[in-house]
Amino acid sequence: MFPSSSHPPTLHTTAPTPSTTLFTVSTRSPSHTLLARSLHYLALLLRVIVGIAIIVLFWAKWRQRGGDEAQGLGETAWYEDMVLSSPVGQMAGWAARGLSWTWVVGGTMIGGWAVTRRGYTEESLLVLRGLGIQTSSSSPTYLSTPTTRFIPTTAIQDIFIHEAFKGFEVRFYLAIVVQGEEDVVVVFPTLLPNRHILETVWRGARACLYEPAAAKA
């Protein structure tokens, strides 16, 4: 049900100023314990190492493409020498010699996908009183930027929670009615968090967008 993570979406609210609130819904596992945190950084380190190894392997194979004539030129920059003479470079060179192009390209693509995959989805709603609302959805990989959409206050007609059929179930969604647009803008479109989260966000967004009743009186 939840994309690429077993963790149900959780809500984090940050309000740096009274007129700004950021609601973030994420499937990232909440890491509070030391073990969980160290595991997280270890995984990150592993990703970096594997990523570097893949790049070096591809580069080594690329260098061997020219074969003897490239060697004959003998013109190698100092950094190339440094990389190729290092243990990683030697390993990569050995592997590149043994593997065919199909294997290298296939392995690079799969490895590259695995390394850059984000593994969790994060969607946020930033409410700025007097300015507008910005929705944001994280991209599936680390390489691309999140998709964001800014809606100015003047264009916002309403913000509401409703239900809709999605696949084999009925889900709640938070929607913004934008002036001059036929379709509503759905907030948290991929995660579609549960009703309690949506109600919290809805209340918070309304309180932040429109002056609270207490402030008016």
Binding site: M1, P8, H162, E163, A164, F165, F168, E169, V170, R171, F172, N194, R195
Partner: protein, 514 residues
């Protein structure tokens, strides 16, 4: 005791019709009585998703493939996941299906029984036994109704028909007729309601019976026909009868409203006999315009060939029209004798009956102006809702067997598969026993379907666990002044968790204490 009820039918608004308005009226009245009602139907053109109607009546327009005359394609199991989701999120206890031609309703009843919910089925139509389509529908009906808790029919004729078609125990079939909103069908002599009028209770503003209006021997009598122009509505009979009626009665005019495949035949008949100035064809009219058409006439002609109830003749009588109708189906039960003239469903008799009715009206022997008040006393949706509620009480075990089936001694006629009378056991083996008796081949096929359905249910419980399904909020209700204990649950959204089974248990405990 409030229930959470799901009304399920393929037929609902925006499509107009008798079943549709029945579901709507019954639902609103049940909501007024403190229940929670949702309606599940398929998506119509431009009408999908979840919608709210007046008074917080929630409608789920499930996106489905429509086959024929707004009926969905019968896919036995594909509806289950979404149905289960709706049932869980709305905390439904009773599933109430409508109309025997609606495959959505049959599927829902099957799934509801698998999920352990109480089920009621309302039959709105009569069927034959001879042709292939009827046999198939009847078999399907038998399948569904083998394991339904209770059946409601709109007339006694309909009850007989359903009992025979589905081989039911007549005791588990109740008759609850349709009703009309009499305020919407006032005769011309009474002013139409203004919004401010509607607020005052009808009993306090007692309208005096209007003075009888006399028809002279030479004044024109208008005959109104409002029906969909289908074969089963008797349009052929009408086409044959109109020229003869008009030939023998010079001061008679016809107004015909409605549309359908037989409209062309009707137009051809008018052109052939050159009756354009005496027969007015209005084409399709909306339900709220029906009254305005009816009050233009004096006689309502209803030539239907089969009809389970015939709400339209009650509406016509409420408008102060004298009714001429065929003696078919449940029609003879609907109105008292002084409001109607019956005919056999054949051309000669229909012409004769219409002639008789015209003569009676010309002789001023019928007080049609009194009809409205009489109909108002006979038919009300509040009464229908009360009686339906009693059925719900009976199947949930709130009413005891003796109370529910008045004059029936317990333990005499119930089959072995049934536990307490009227309260069917949910155990799979008991359900299989009930289905197995449906026929030599059909029984085995039905059992197979039920087993697959059960396995699907188990799979769904694992695949989409109950805990991950959001509970929908209830429509906020006004707290009624009297009976504060009754409305304890009106506030919070996640109230009424007690299932029907808990309720039944509690009832058993109560009886033990006595």
């Amino acid at each position: 005791m409030p229930y959470n009820i799901a009304m399920i039918s393929d037929f609902f608004f925006p499509q107009p019709g008798g079943v549709e308005s029945h579901i709507y009226q019954l639902s609103t009245k049940l909501i007024d009585r403190g229940h929670k009602v949702i309606i599940v139907t398929h998506a119509y053109q431009g009408r999908t998703g979840v919608r709210y109607l007046t008074n917080g009546l929630k409608v789920y327009h499930v996106p489905f493939f429509v086959v024929y005359r707004e009926t969905t394609f019968p896919t036995v199991f594909s509806f289950f996941p979404i149905f289960r989701n709706i049932v869980i999120r709305e905390q439904i206890e009773i599933v109430h299906g409508h109309a025997s031609l609606s495959s959505l309703c049959h599927e829902a009843i099957l799934h509801a029984r698998t999920m352990g919910l109480r089920t009621v089925f309302t039959d709105h139509s009569l069927f034959g036994f001879a042709d292939a389509a009827s046999i198939l529908t009847n078999k399907l009906l038998k399948f569904t109704l083998s394991d339904v808790d209770h059946v409601i029919c709109v007339s006694h004729t309909c009850k007989e028909n359903t009992v025979l078609r589905a081989s039911l125990d007549p005791l588990m079939v109740s008759v609850i007729p349709n009703a009309v909103v009499a305020e919407n069908f006032r005769p011309l002599s009474l002013p139409t309601t203004t919004p401010s009028d509607g607020l005052t209770s009808p009993s306090s503003t007692h309208t005096p019976v209007p003075a009888p209006h006399h028809l002279g021997p030479n004044s024109t009598i208008t005959i109104v026909v409002i029906s969909r122009l289908f074969y089963n509505k008797g349009t052929d009979l009408l086409i044959a009868a109109i020229p003869r009626i008009l030939a023998s009665h010079p001061k008679v005019r016809f107004i015909i409203a409605g549309t359908g495949p037989k409209a062309i035949d009707l137009e051809q008949m008018i052109e052939r006999n050159v009756l354009q100035d005496r027969v007015e064809l209005l084409g399709p009219v909306r339900h709220e315009e029906v009254r305005d058409v009816m009050v233009r006439g004096h006689i309502y002609l209803h030539p239907s060939l089969t009809e389970a109830f015939g709400t339209v003749i009650v509406e016509a009588a409420s408008c102060g029209l004298y009714v001429v109708c065929t003696r078919v189906g449940g029609i003879p039960e609907v109105l008292p004798a002084h409001m109607t003239t019956f005919a056999k469903p054949e051309e000669d008799d229909l012409v004769a009956a219409t002639g008789k009715a015209i003569a009676l009206l010309r002789a001023n022997k019928i007080r049609t102006e009194k009809f409205h008040e009489q109909v108002k006393l006979m038919y009300s949706w509040t009464d229908v809702a009360e009686r339906t509620e009693r059925v719900y009480d009976g199947i949930s075990g709130v009413l005891s067997e003796e109370e529910f089936y008045v004059g029936f001694r317990s333990g005499a006629g119930w089959s072995a598969t049934r536990g307490r009378a009227g309260v069917q056991s949910f155990a799979l083996i008991d359900r299989l026993k009930r289905y197995y008796g449906c026929g030599i081949w059909a029984g085995k096929l039905f059992c197979l379907c039920v087993i697959v359905d059960y396995l699907l249910f188990v799979f769904l419980e694992l695949w989409a666990p109950r805990a991950s399904i959001d509970i929908a909020r209830n429509w906020p209700k006004k707290v009624v002044l009297h009976g504060s204990a009754k409305h304890e649950e009106s506030g919070s959204g996640v109230a009424r968790k007690r299932s029907a089974r808990h309720r039944e248990k509690r009832r058993d405990v109560e009886t033990d204490n006595f």
